[in-house]
Symmetry: C2
Subunit: 222 residues, 2 copies
């Protein structure tokens, strides 16, 4: 029951249903989620520790708003961690793994040609997730999952930068090539280069504080 409240709240925050800085009143959540107040409380504690909500004593919890500067920080951290994951993935990749990656790339290429940017973004997230899974590195997995959750507000921004999609595809191809070759150093370097460009694209992105009206369930930009 407590885990339920946690999952529900987390999903609502990640999907954008709960806007940043929105107050999370325990009584409201209790009624809306149909769970007891204690469950809501522990869920909020967990989300706070996870960095998704902030909590002031006697003032309640609110959805945490990450600003541009912190977003850049988070992306930097993700960069080095996913670089590490790419290194491990390259060292452990089986032929089947590589085939899977190439299939995702081909799929991404199709969407790209069709102009389906949202589809590209989804394949993007899938590719990164697959690499993380291949790395078999539980700690990095956990850390990246936590960091990714805090970037929901920026997930669709970089894809929209003109010309970004093509460069992104080339970068992904380089990563997959390095992993396929079993070259750990090259894989890590390619991942760092890729996410470095994402950071740069995010910085140059003109619209700040986009209202983030709605969002798909699970994806992650890069």
């Amino acid at each position: 029951m407590a885990a339920d409240a946690y999952s529900l709240l987390r999903a609502e925050i990640l999907s954008g249903e709960l806007q940043p800085s929105e107050r999370l009143v325990e009584a409201d959540l209790t009624a809306r989620l149909g769970v007891s107040r204690g469950a809501v409380r522990t869920a909020l504690v967990r989300l706070q520790q996870e960095g998704l909500v902030e909590h002031e004593r006697h003032r309640g919890a609110r959805v945490r708003l990450v600003g541009e500067r912190e977003a850049a920080e988070i992306l930097e951290a993700r960069m080095v961690l996913e670089g590490l994951a790419a290194r491990h993935a390259a060292a452990r990749a089986t032929p089947e793994d590589v085939a899977g990656l190439r299939a995702i790339l081909a799929d991404m290429r199709e969407r790209l040609d069709a102009g389906d940017l949202l589809g590209v973004s989804d394949r993007n997230a899938i590719l990164h997730a697959r690499l993380l899974a291949m790395a078999g590195h539980a700690t990095v997995d956990r850390l990246v999952a936590g960091l990714r959750g805090q970037l929901v507000r920026f997930q669709y921004r970089t894809i929209l930068v003109p010309g970004r999609s093509d460069r992104s595809f080339a970068e992904h191809t380089a990563i997959v090539d390095a992993v396929a070759a079993g070259d750990a150093d090259a894989a890590e370097a390619a991942m760092l280069r890729h996410l470095g460009h994402v950071t740069q694209a995010l910085r140059e992105s003109p619209q700040r504080n986009s209202a983030s009206t709605a969002a798909a369930p699970n994806p992650t930009a890069s």
Copy 2:
């Protein structure tokens, strides 16, 4: 009060007073820490989310035991994150910062010559902490703090490897030199080299599952 229980418990785990796999019975903690049960409960939830305790439903919480493999994973993650921090520190270092680092190094050299390995380990932790502070990177700071907490059981092991202290000092000197020169790439590389050697030393360390009888309040090995 809740924060108190959290701090107290965290300190007891980090100091080694609470052994790994030891059961954390809510009633006992309530009596021993002098706080109410609700406070103990939220403290346990936070510690669980932080990865210091594990919790099974209806079976209670126990201090989490991290094995050799996971310790290596954590060190790898710390390695790339502290490398990032070293990069930032090199870019932002003021002359006062550099002087502070050199002072710590000199202090460490003295202890080393005096054979005070525990003192060396402390200065070690101080040096890493100072670098993290200089980086001004809140996200990396938070992540590293979380990771460091899970490695308490291994904190004094690497220092004891014969000849490790001297090499460690040389590595630290290289890091400080790079930071002093403002060379971000070199600083990151030096930090990666240093923590890579720590990982290696940990792997080669003969005694596994050392009982960890007691420990100083706060230090961290490297």
